[in-house]
Structure formats: C-alpha cells, structure tokens
Amino acid sequence: MYPRAIPENRPLSRFAYGLLVALVLALWLLPLFAVIMTSFRSFDDVMAGNYWGWPSKIQVFENYAAVFQQSKMLDYFLNSLIITIPSTIAVLVLSTMTGFVLSRYPFPGAMVIFALFVGGNFLPQQIMMIPIRDLMVATGLYDTFWALILFHVAFQTGFATLFMRNFIAALPSELFQAARAEGASPWQTLIHIVAPLVRPALAALAILVFTFIWNDYFWAVVLTQSDAVKPVTAGLSNLRGEWVSQWNIVSAATILVAVPPVLMFFLMQKHFISGLTMGAVKG
C-alpha cells in the first residue's frame, strides 16, 4: 500500500489523520453544501444576504413544493426519465451483442471497428452537432423524445462496447471452447453463457450510462425546444433565468436534478467505481 498505512497500534495518529481528511473533504464539498443549505432557506434570508449563516427560518417543504408547483421542473423530471430509462436499456442490449462479437469472434477488421467505436466516442460531440440536428429535423424527430433517445443510444453504444468487450474478453476462453465443444451455437452461447456472466458488468454499465444520459445538457438544448420534451438539465438552466434572484428556489431545483444520479451512485456504489475503472483502466 502506498502511502504507507498508519499502524493500527497508533490510534491517535489514525484519528488525527481521519480528522485531516474530513477537513479537506469539508472544503471539497463546500459549494455543494452551501447549495443544500440555501435550498432550506427563506427568500428573506436570500435577500438579506444570509447565505452562509444559520437560516432564520427552515423551509425545506415550501421551497421544494414551490419548485414542483410553480415551475415545470416536475414535467422536465419526467421527461428525463422517459428519455434516460429506455436509452439505457437499449445501450445495454446493443453493447452486449457488439462486445460479445468483438471480443470472441476475431475477424479481419475487428480491430478497426473497435477503434472506430472508441475513437468516435472520444470525439467532441459538437463536431457532429450540425448533421445530427439536420438529420433529426429531416426525419421529423427534432423536438421529440426520439431525437434524444436515438442520439444517446448511438453515442453511448461506443463507450459501452469498449466496456463490454473488455469484460467479456476477460472471461476465461476455456468457457467458450467448452460451449463450442458441446455444440452450442453463437446465439446459445450468448444467451446461456455470456448473458448470465456479464450481469455485474451490466449493473455497472447501467449506472454509468444512466448518469451520462441524465446529465447531458448539450444535446438537450440542441435537439429540443418545447417544454413538453425538455429534460431536466435544460429545464434547470431555464429556471435559473426565470427565478433570477430566488436562489433558494434555484438551489432546491439544482438539488432535485442531482438526486437521481447521486441516489444511483450511493445505492450501487461498488458497481459504479468498478464500472468506471473497468471501462477506463482496462481500456
């Protein structure tokens, strides 16, 4: 282990070190903490400039209720779910198939296709903005859920393929030789061998892809216009324009946007970390 472990027989040093880390952490999360605090404050506090002191009145319920009732955040929130959940499922299915083929069926050009997936995924998304917007307008999908779903599925399949390929490639090859020796077709191998074994990878990938899509802002503004389809990130940006000085309400909305990915992260923390590192480190 590096740095050297602080020995267990020195509880005082360990405690002091823990305290030091907690202090750094407090500084690290200070901005987030302040936003959470503000989402509890009254507008009077905000006007009086009481951002950092103790709230004069704690109004958690009022602020969050205001976000739901007086803004369209609830609609945006549902829009985001409608876009994110099916996209995530589609990405998982597609990338399991592509990852399986690219890791287990070496054919001439496999490396090129793989490089295409990885390289395309690294492109700044702005590069493809104009033709994709054009494509969506031409097909009549512009400003519908389908536009965002289609794009996210296509784009995330790149990263997800890299991820699944690495995971499936790490499975013991004897397993696949055994399946072949027993006469399993590629399709049977995929269903009976690969699918059960990649479940942990899929869990990790699901969280990552969900977070990526949920957090997207660029395509939300490029491909949507009307409130009926706008996801929550674009909605938050709008809301900030409408509720200029009401920082307590804006803060509450900000926290709301952050809840699903943060929840995902804490529920499936192990998968999240292993997922990020599996997808990235092994790549």
Binding site: M1, P3, A5, I6, R14, G18, V21, V24, L25, W28, L30, P31, A34, G49, Y51, W52, L94, S95, M97, T98, F100, V101, Y105, F107, M111, A115, V118, F122, L123, P124, Q125, Q126, I127, M128, M129, I130, P131, D134, L135, L150, F151, A154, T157, G158, S185, W187, L190, N215, D216, F218, T233, L236, R240, V250, A258, P261, L276, A280, V281, G283
Partner: protein, 293 residues
C-alpha cells in the same frame, strides 16, 4: 433453410449481432462527424439551399478575432485541466488509508463526478457571486472586495475552468484509487528493502506502476478540456463580450444563433483536427497495450 442456416450460423450470428449497434453508431456518430467536413465548404443557414463556397469559411475563420479568442481559451482549458490528474492523484493518496470512516469519505469525494455539469455550473455561478457568494465572503474576511469573476473578461475563463476542474479531479481520483488498489505489494516491499522512501519511492516504484492509469486519466482530461461546453453555456454564455468562448461553444453559437451552419462546421472541423491528434495518440496506446497483453 435450416441446413443452410446451420452451416453458416457461426459467422452469420455474430454478424447479425454486431450489425444494429455498428449500424447505428456508424450512421449517427461517424457519418455525421464526416458530414461536418462536407458542410464546412458551404454557406448554409440550416434550412435553405447550401451554396458551395470552397474554403471561404476557413479563410474567414483565419481573420476572425473571435476564433483566436476561442483557440486561446481552449489552450487555457487544456493547460488548466491538466492539473486534474496530479490533483486527483494527490487526493487518491490522501484517502488511501484503511481508517474507520474512510470508505464513506472516499465516496463523498467522488460526489462532484455524478453531478451534471449544469448543476456544477449553477453551483459555481453562485459560489462566484460578487455580492453573496462564498468567494466574496472570503475576500471580505481579509478586508478586500471580491472580483466579479464571471463578468471580468480576463478572469472569466479561469473561473469557468476552475468549476469544471471540480468533477474532473474527482474522476481522476477514482481512476488513481483503482490504480493504487492494484499496486504490487511485493514490489513496494522490495522498494522499501532497497531503501527507497517518500519521493524516491513515489518516483521509482509507485508511479511506474500507475502509468497505464495515468495515460487514461490524461487522455480523458484532454478530451474533456476540448469538448468544454456545458459550463460555459450555463455560467457565461460565452460572455462577457465573447471573452469566454471555446471552439465548441463558438461553433454552437455560430450555428444555432447566427444560423451560419457552414461556418460552424468549419470551426468543428478545426476542433476535430486538434482532437484527431489526441485520439490517434490514445488509440495507439490502446492497441499497443492490447498487443502487449
């Protein structure tokens, strides 16, 4: 049919499995990216007819002062973003201890990573607020007046990058923590027996084991710097007076607000050329690692 299928299924099934994902990715992502080059040779408002103008868009770009502002800002993004890997490594070192409560603190350190860039943008806009922000409070504690970072054209980009660094550092930290988990215990032991300690241990024994992770952290950081858009859009909308645009933001603005899609495409092409260098470097490393393993 069935006999034919049985004979060919060993290559047909994989082909069919690969097809949908590959098709979608090729058409939407790759084809669109290539189409951008083509569009960059036209004058086009996004709806009407495209008029071929050859290299005119590029010529105009070279004379556009805004282009150089964007280029300079992209460079600032890139250089400042490269602080993320070492900073992430430092925090990873800090929390790599098995002490009660450390697990929870580790996950809290990751937190900025899962926040949307919009969320981060809103949080920091407000953090920088010259009247009420935390920064203002800090300055006042020392009896100074806080600069209005986001409306100062010399400081604005630095302020925006600083906010974007927050999740980026968290990301690098996750990668390095994973790397530290995989350190070879016996190698560290050998280093200690050989009398390496502190910085010598870090330099000669620990860092060489982290090169793979560091490579990925740097690659992802560079991509992140070049595709910077969300934070600018949320915090400054390119302002004040276009002083905080990057190539990504400028092309977005030119296309969607000024309806100059051809010109926007030319900017995107330049961005791609810069990017291509890094992607090529990354893929080379990737394929080399693949062959080595």
């Amino acid at each position: 049919m069935t006999i034919w299928w049985r004979r060919h299924r060993n290559w047909l099934t994989p082909a069919l499995l690969l097809a949908p994902g590959l098709f979608l990715f090729l058409v939407v992502i790759i084809w669109s990216s290539l189409e951008t080059f083509w569009i960059s040779f036209f004058d086009w408002d996004g709806m009407g007819v495209k008029t071929w103008v050859g290299l005119a868009n590029y010529r105009e770009l070279l004379d556009d002062p805004q282009f150089y502002v964007s280029l300079k800002n992209n460079l600032i993004w890139l250089l400042m973003f490269l602080l993320a890997p070492p900073a992430g490594l430092a925090i990873a070192f800090l929390v790599n201890q098995k002490i009660a409560g450390m697990r929870v603190m580790k996950s809290l350190f990751f937190m900025p990573l899962v926040l949307a860039t919009v969320t981060v943008g809103v949080i920091f806009t407000w953090f920088y607020d010259p009247t009420f922000g935390l920064l203002a409070l800090l300055f006042r504690a020392f009896g100074a007046e806080a600069p209005a970072l986001l409306s100062n054209e010399h400081l604005v980009t630095f302020a925006v990058v600083a906010s974007a660094l927050w999740p980026q550092i968290a990301f690098c930290m996750v990668l390095f923590l994973a790397g530290l988990n995989n350190l070879d215990e016996e190698l560290i032991g050998a280093g200690r027996v050989d009398g390496a300690r502190g910085l010598a241990m870090l330099w000669h024994v620990v860092l060489p084991q982290l090169t793979q992770v560091a490579f990925i952290a740097v690659a992802i950081t560079i991509v992140g710097a070049l595709r910077s858009f969300d934070a600018i859009s949320v915090m400054t909308a390119g302002g004040p007076f276009g002083s905080s645009t990057t190539l990504a933001y400028q092309m977005y603005e030119q296309s969607l607000f000024s309806y100059r899609f051809g010109y926007g495409a030319a900017i995107a092409t330049i961005l791609f050329l810069i990017m291509a260098v890094f992607i090529a470097w990354y893929l080379r490393g990737l394929i080399r690692a693949e062959k080595g393993a």
